[in-house]
Amino acid sequence: MDVISLGTIIDAAAAVLQLNILFWILIGVLIGFVFGAAPGLTATTGVAIATPLTFGASFEVAMALLLGIYSAGYFAGSIPAILINTPGAPGNAATALDGYRLARMGKADLAISLAVVASVIGGVFSIVVLMFAAPVLSNFALKFTSVEYFSLGLFGLICVSAVSGGSLAKGITGAAIGMFLGTIGIDEVGGTMRFTFGMPELQGGVPLIPTLIAFFAVAEMLLQASSHLDASLLPKQQIHRILRLPGLMISHSWLLLKSSLIGTFIGILPGTGPTIAAWIAYGQSGRRKAEEAEGEEIAAVRGVIAAESANNAVTGGALVPLLTLGIPGDTVTAVLIGALLIQGIDPGPFFIIEHGDLFAQILIILLIAAVMTLVLGLGARRILPKILTIPARILLPVIGVLCVAGGFAIHSIPFEVGIIAVLGIAGYILARFGFPMAPIVIGLVLGPIIEINLRNSLVANDMDPTVFITRPISAVLLIAIVVTLAWSARRSLR
């Protein structure tokens, strides 16, 4: 693929391998550790808060910070999962099962070491897939018309509604709320006002980044405040020799490969994320068989390796639809759309063709972030649990200030700060009633894409709706939507 030739990669490496960029990757990784490890806070929250701060930064600096948080945050959620049986993020829930089991055996150190290495292997595997798959898919996506974009957007939305936790009805309600927020403002086709209620600030639509901050950071902050989460009881650990790790990894290489493949594939599916990837990989880990044959410890080792490698393999996978189709693969990449727009970049099929250098920079930054996660994760694995002891009474107010100041920093518009507060409290109420946040945010991102492509498809095809089932890719996606809905409805009814 000539769009990322060796020359492009060398140029990108020269742009990225500079002290200030490495510094921002390091900062991102450290922030990712904090947000990932603090129970309740997630990598998505960290990226949402940090995105507005990249407003005045160069592309390299912005991506260094955000991808550092993304990469490290997905791993760091395994720390509280292992030590206090409380996943740092939903994607680490599967890790908690066997990670905490190892901790109770006094082998938390081994569990954290395994989680770091498996996460990094999964992450690097997905970066390699991103490197080779994205340019090919990007070229393929050029053949997509608005018909395929409509079906793909709808598929992503249905996937996230179906798998984001809670009932299907709540997932779909969340997606509808997000899509409704996406309709506010001037209608792109007819130019008429929709739901602006006389507020000129809403003519341009509900701003994306403040909305993301509201639903991911503010709602989470309020949930944590009312949940009394304070993690201070840590199990006593046996010290584990790092030299034992390569042997363990080699003996589980097939499991690592399989789980990384699952994670990458789930990541590529628009609108899904690490939670489902980790559970599928955990289910496929063969830990039950191993428990019977080799004992509880090896079974737990398999569980941690499978869940963590799949969890982190989502990172590169989720970037594939974002950078090739402009459709987010998970919640973090939904936030990254905002970061790319701040840089004046519209992600989509032309991104790699027009900005091959920036694509290569993303790959290199992700690789460096993975290496830093490995080194810092292993080196500081006995210090990292201290993050759990930061009291909520200090952490949450500081996050509140960062949400407001960060939201203001984007455009210096006080109205957007008001949006953060109002939507954040609305998000808190919805979350308390069990509505998942991910479909709301993905609905906000995908809603306008779905609507505009639906309307364009009908215009281009003389208002003939059968075009959605006569074009093969669209037909396959629509069948997948029906199957997903049927499966999820059956699961909900049980």
Partner: protein, 144 residues
Amino acid sequence: MKADRMAGGLTLIAGLGLMVATSQIDILASQPTLSARFFPYVLALILMLSGLALALKPGDALLGTVIGKLLAYRGVTLAVAFLVYALSFRFVDFRFGTWLFLVVTMWILGSRKWSELLILPIAVSAILYLLFRYGFIVLLPTWT
């Protein structure tokens, strides 16, 4: 009463409200494609159907439990403090407003050490002000 029945009922009402609001959108007489009302109408219908589904097949959570958690002292007071801080953001000096917000919310969340309440808010508001003002070149609201 099950919490989902209340959530479903409110979702149903929201769907009806959206339906009414959508009917007020101006549309062009001759438009070559679906009107600006079409998509919001579909969303209103989805909201009504999913609200109905929630009300008819609710989960196990009881309304009293959910409302109790929703109105938990710390959550509500932090939400009110956050709302006041955000809405008054443009009028109040960032350094003072942030200091006050931190003192109040740290108190709400259980901080009782005077040293903690005295030093941390001043340090955090000063560091963040300097970081945003000189690091990110963002002009935060000030009185001077």
